[in-house]
Amino acid sequence: MRATPRLLHPAAWWLWALALAYSSMRTNDPLLLLTIAAVAAVVVGARRGRAPWARAYGLLLRLALLTVVVTVLLQVVLGARYPGHTLFTLPAVPLPSWLGGLSLGGPITGEAVLNAFVSGLRLAVLITCFGAANALAHPARLTRILPAALYEVGVAVVVAMTFVPQLAESLVRVRSAQRLRGRAISGLRGIRGVAVPVLEEALERAIALAASMDSRGYGRRAHLPSTTRRLSGAGVLIGLGAAVVGTYQVISASGGNRIAVMLLCGGTGLAAVAGFVAGRRVRRTRYRPDPWRGPEWLVVCCGGVVALTYVLTVHDELTLGVPYAWPTLRLVPFLATLIGALPAVATPDVPSATPRVAKPALA
């Protein structure tokens, strides 16, 4: 029996991707890292939405690849020499000592390349995890589950994000126009010639959008004393800030301590209380809220299994370079990572929609 096609709850996908990303940050085993990236790719291939944002995945994948290539190249050309098995020797260019130990050329060792590759790969896997979350559930859909107190901020952020592609579009248009006027589009004058019309247009568009949102009822709210409003707003921000700092302290390499845990708990609590108070002034309803059913639990559990397995079985010393040896397979985390790919088949398919047709435009 096939489940009715539907989009899963965005939070489920983001949690799943977060779990994969966290797992990838716990290891510097290239084999496991590659497995995580492949698992994310399979799920994206099977369950990404059919809206244009989902196409950004390919772009992010290319960016991830570029990250690896650039990291390795930088290491080969500029990096600190890493002793070990010499793969090949570049002609060494002696640099003056005041350049602080930078060296050009010299013997390139397998250790250096391997370690650069692994550190590039970790970053690349992080990027693909983010790309996967983005392709599976657009961040804009996350605003629908934001608590009322953060809703307006969320909408503002999302709307600001839609400005980037529009800005790029008008940039291309204005540059073409400047070229058609026979004007240099480089140099200070060129930059001004491009920037002035683009910024003017962005401003006009922002005003038009704000006017439209306002006349569509955005920002209607119940009355709340202004002191309460300000206090609750500040409470949300401070609480979230504290929670973020606490989270970083807890999961960062320096290890958890009591203050970090207190920061995390206190911050979350403060944000929750302030959010509840602030949320009372926002009156809005939700159209077709995303349901949270079995498939969502499955997605989150798959991510959870991966993350938990890594917590229990992977204790890589991340600060230590990888030994120059054939990577050995660690069966338990490897198999656990494969569980992360389960949502590709065990969740309902995405509803079909007509694919987007690119529309070219002059100037």
Binding site: G45, R81, G101, T109, G321, P323, Y324, L331
Partner: protein, 296 residues
């Protein structure tokens, strides 16, 4: 990048000081002595061909692992000794000697310092001491005399003082391999046992914690690691030692080399890895095919 400011300062000094202080290279010396003093006081001394940085010379006969992330560019482990999170009292200190046995604390990074022929390089692990212990004195002649028979060392009279006797005077100077931001937690050396297993010198039992860590690793990992280190540890004996660059030259009077490089010998252990890689590739291809089919 964090170490750059420190290095700039140090290098400014070093650029002039190294020229002035460094002993003139012995007339026909083609080597540099390398002395490594491990955490437990055990010493390995050898001789490396000149050319390259201090780090590269060290790497000629020692398994060196560099740090990544916040310890990027730091020497973290030599022959499996070291901590993945070095701090103020646990780190590899870096020394120079003119070849006559007296040690001078290095004021520059091993990755940028280029030792001259006829000198001796020292590495000493600081394992909780307040100041860095000097490496044991070894003269160039004692280390490389047999390889450079015509070399005239600057002075003779090697000191035979024990490794832990002296202590570095300038403990305030940041050593090349120490981090300036101490990490709160300093773990025990991770893979001491790996090199111990093949070290020829009598070594005390490894830390229990390290042993536990090693034991928890899958057996495959250990065996391949052993084959890696065993290629390098043949010289880790008391001086005078033999010089055996990799690949071992025919002229070297080195004892038989224990093993081929790791990548060649671990063929049987590579099968699970290859299998996993195949699974990863299959997943990738699946993802690509599904994406193409859905897009079209």
């Amino acid at each position: 990048m964090r170490r750059l400011p420190a290095l700039f300062g140090a290098l400014a000094l070093c650029a002039t000081a190294a020229l002035a202080i460094a002993p003139p290279a012995a007339a026909s010396a083609r080597h540099v002595g390398v002395v490594v003093r491990y955490a437990n006081g055990r010493v390995s001394a050898g001789c490396a061909r000149v050319g390259g940085t201090g780090l590269e010379l060290l790497g000629q006969h020692h398994a060196v692992r560099m740090g990544t992330q916040q310890y990027s560019g730091f020497v973290i482990e030599i022959d499996g000794v070291g901590t993945p999170r070095p701090d103020d009292t646990h780190y590899w200190s870096y020394w120079h000697s003119g070849g006559n046995g007296g040690w001078r604390y290095s004021s520059s990074g091993a990755a940028s310092y280029r030792p001259k022929a006829g000198t001796v390089e020292g590495w000493s692990y600081v394992n909780g001491q307040g100041s860095a212990p000097r490496p044991p004195s070894r003269t160039y002649a004692a280390l490389c005399g047999r390889l450079d028979p015509h070399a005239v060392p600057r002075s003779t009279a090697p000191s035979s003082s024990t490794a832990s006797a002296g202590s570095a005077a300038p403990s305030t100077v940041a050593p090349a391999a120490s981090n300036t931001r101490p990490a709160p937690h300093a773990g025990a050396p991770v893979s001491v046992a790996r090199s111990r297993a093949v070290a020829t010198a009598a070594a005390p039992a490894p830390h229990t914690r390290a042993a536990k860590r090693t034991a928890s690793r899958p057996p495959v990992a250990r065996s391949s690691a052993r084959s890696t280190t065993s290629t390098r540890s043949h010289h880790a004996t008391a001086p005078p030692t033999r010089h055996s660059p990799r690949p071992a030259p025919a002229t070297s009077p080195a004892p038989s080399i224990a093993a081929q490089p790791a990548a060649d010998t671990s063929g049987t252990n590579a099968w699970p890895t290859l299998g996993a890689l195949a699974v990863v590739a299959a997943l990738g291809v699946t993802a690509w095919v599904v994406m193409r089919r859905r897009a079209g």
